[in-house]
Amino acid sequence: MKIIINHSSMQPIYEQIAGQMKAQILKGEIKEDTMLPSVRMLAKEQRISALTVKKAYDTLEAEGFITTVHGKGSFVAPTNRQMRLEERRKEVEAAFELAIRKGKSCGMSKEELTDVFQMILEEM
């Protein structure tokens, strides 16, 4: 499990951690029942406060992504298909946004962009 924190970002650190873990869980990169690193261990690796890690874990637990067993640790909870699909849909939206932004930056109009989209859709 690789978490990369950007200390210069405007996004709070605990959100970055929770967000990245969530995405990896939904993509299936971290399997169900995997034990997560202890709060202190992740705090050590990332060089941040243990309370920040705890906040991230609490967020993930509240949203149903992990379960904590007192005395044992935190484990990835089973995710349902719906959440996974929703995550994939969000990725599609993001890809569209990127393509449209690129198109606009080289001067393409809405009509031109729509034409390109239709053309590719028909070909596939």
Partner: protein
């Protein structure tokens, strides 16, 4: 683990009056200008000076009843604590073992080796930085439940600091109920290590916040005079006049980012916090 309740101490030119707490499992940071009362507070916590009022509680009991056994569960590094300069590390070992029943000789020597502290050299011939490291390494070698460290990384270069901080983190990872109180001037150390921060000024605690909130919710706003006049100041803790207009310290970064997209918002660190809390004016 450690509780100071309205601890008061009066000196000729200075008066201490402070309350703070270090909980098990936490690393608490302590900042303040030189002369603000950090060392006095630490000494009061350790019973090295007797307060004029208030209570000090260590490991759940009044500090006065701590006793020898209790004191061996404390790991302490103060600025002027010292081993006898004419001894080498090897000379010290027997006394250390006798004083601290949980002293781990092998682990201690391994740590000294890691930091290139020769065990056969007279301590008075160590550099200041090396002597500092020796104190810190010893504090980490007898299973102390509470570490009280006054500027443990002072004078160390960034690589040495990094290694010592990693050792602190590992120390906390080994046993869940350990705790640390660290005073430091090095913002980066505190931001990457501590769970919460107390700030002392003129003998009083003027600030206490979780590091997470400090780094995530606090920010420095920079704006022109006109922007300042139109600004909703209900979440501004301090402000300062600058040559470009005004700078403001807030604990509600998101509020200003959402409502004032034209105002520059800068991530905040402990150094800015200290400067603004002490030099800034209240709204």
């Amino acid at each position: 683990m450690l509780k100071l309740r309205n601890v008061k101490k009066k000196y000729k030119d200075f008066e201490l009056d402070c309350s703070m707490e270090v909980r098990p499992g936490m690393i608490t940071g302590f900042v303040g200008k030189n002369g603000a009362g950090k060392t006095t507070t630490l000494k009061a916590a350790l019973g090295l000076i007797r307060p004029d009022g208030g209570e000090v509680e260590l490991f759940g009991k009044p500090a006065a009843v701590l006793g020898k056994a209790g004191r061996t569960r404390l790991g302490v590094v103060l600025a002027d604590s010292g081993f006898c300069g004419y001894l080498t590390i090897r000379d010290l070992l027997p006394s250390l073992e006798r004083m601290y029943p949980k002293f781990d000789r092998a682990a201690f020597l391994e740590k000294c080796n890691r930091f290139h502290l020769s065990d056969n050299k007279k301590i008075k011939d160590f550099s200041t930085g090396m002597r500092q490291k020796l104190h810190v390494l010893f504090a980490l070698s007898h299973d102390a439940r509470l570490l009280i460290l006054d500027e443990p990384t002072a004078g160390m270069d960034v690589l040495g600091r990094d290694e010592i901080l990693d050792m602190f983190r590992e120390y906390m990872e080994e046993k869940e109920d350990r705790a640390m109180l660290v005073s430091s001037h090095i913002a980066g150390d505190l931001e990457s290590l501590c769970d919460d921060i107390y700030m002392i000024n003129d003998g009083h605690i003027i600030f206490h916040e979780e590091t997470d909130a400090l780094l995530g919710d606090y920010a420095l706003l920079k704006m022109t005079r006109e922007q300042y006049q139109k600004l909703d100041k209900s979440h501004v803790l301090r402000f300062r006049e600058e040559n470009y207009g005004y700078s403001c310290l807030t604990d509600q970064k998101a509020f200003y980012m959402d409502n004032y997209p034209d105002v520059t918002v800068e991530n905040n660190g402990i150094d800015t916090l200290i400067t603004m809390m002490i030099r800034g004016e209240r709204v």
